[in-house]
């Protein structure tokens, strides 16, 4: 299993970054590589099937996603998909839990 994030798989495969180029939210920066660069190559953001990478920078990604227009509640759900109970994602989701959606 590679010790890097999904972002590196995109670079290795020469896949254009969906978040930088198209403003789509993507969990690639914090997600363990290994799926074979599946979703970004299909023109959509990674949704973290492989769980968090070893040292994910959740707060930096959260700030970027907020700048793209995601509110706290969207972030709370965004980190809470298939690998929601992995500590990094669980804590990042919880960090946006208490904020009122509207």
């Amino acid at each position: 299993m590679p010790a890097y994030s999904q972002c590196i798989e995109c670079k290795l495969a020469a896949t254009v970054c969906v978040m930088v180029a198209e403003g789509k939210p993507c969990l690639g920066p914090v997600t363990q590589a290994g799926c074979g660069n599946l979703c970004p190559a299909c023109d959509r953001g990674c949704f973290a099937c492989f769980g968090p990478v070893e040292t994910p920078n959740m707060s930096a990604l959260s700030e970027r996603l907020k700048a793209l227009g995601m509110d706290a509640r969207s972030l709370q759900h965004y980190y809470r998909l298939f690998t929601n109970n992995a500590p990094a994602f669980r804590e990042a989701s919880k960090a946006h839990e208490s904020v009122s959606p509207e």
Partner: protein, 217 residues
């Protein structure tokens, strides 16, 4: 299977059908060569996927419902897409609908080949399983696997991968549904339905669509 043969009545009762995906049972009572009672029972418990979707962004639905089944995820992906589109009053026509139909056919091929050749055929021909069947009839099993692969390839081309397809062009809630949900948003869609930032105002972020509240009963 339990059979009780009397003078003119025969009961066939299968409490766990092993050749269907999920849980099913069959009760059959035959009287004088005619079916007197036939019950096909699906007793699979509820999965509560509705609760998983509740309060989430409506575009999450297809990815989540896809996980209902690893053999026929496309059925649940497209059902979720259609449900969200119906909620937004959108109907999908033209090439996108054709692509979805083709993807569904791909799934239909791989799923039914699996069912017919690898689950049922060994039963009908008196083998324990398809491995045993392949000892005597390798060409039949090879043909089945080739057919299944063809179905998988249709899914890979259209959906990005054979199981749990991911390609947003064909298997996500149509862009028009997003537009209907939030007509005043500062974004536009590309021809393939993806959200893009407006090119003449790169500073304006794409507005997030409103969440869909799922009604559960």
């Amino acid at each position: 299977m339990s059979q009780s043969a009397q003078s003119d009545t025969r009961v066939i009762e299968v409490n766990a059908l092993a050749r269907v995906e999920g849980e099913g049972a069959l009760y059959l009572r035959v009287h004088d060569g005619a079916i007197a009672d036939l019950k096909f029972r699906i007793y699979e418990p509820p999965r509560f996927f509705e609760a998983l979707l509740e309060g989430r962004d409506f575009r999450d639905a297809p990815d989540i419902t896809a996980r209902i089944c690893g053999i026929c995820p496309m059925a649940y992906i497209l059902s979720a897409c259609q449900a969200m589109e119906a909620a937004a009053g959108v109907s999908v026509t033209g090439p996108l609908r054709d692509l979805r139909r083709l993807a569904y056919c791909g799934e239909w091929i791989q799923s039914h080949v699996l069912h017919v050749f690898l689950l049922h055929a060994p039963d009908f021909l008196g083998y324990d399983d398809s491995i045993q069947l392949s000892r005597d009839h390798p060409e039949v099993v090879k043909k089945a696997l080739k057919l299944k692969k063809l179905g998988n390839q249709v899914l890979e081309v259209i959906g990005g991968r054979a199981v749990q397809c991911t390609r947003s062009t064909s298997v996500s809630v149509a862009c028009t549904a997003c537009r209907a949900a939030r007509p005043s948003r500062g974004s536009q869609t590309t021809s393939n339905g993806a959200w893009r930032r407006r090119s003449n105002s790169p500073a304006s972020p794409p507005a997030w669509p409103s969440r869909v509240s799922m009604m559960t009963t």
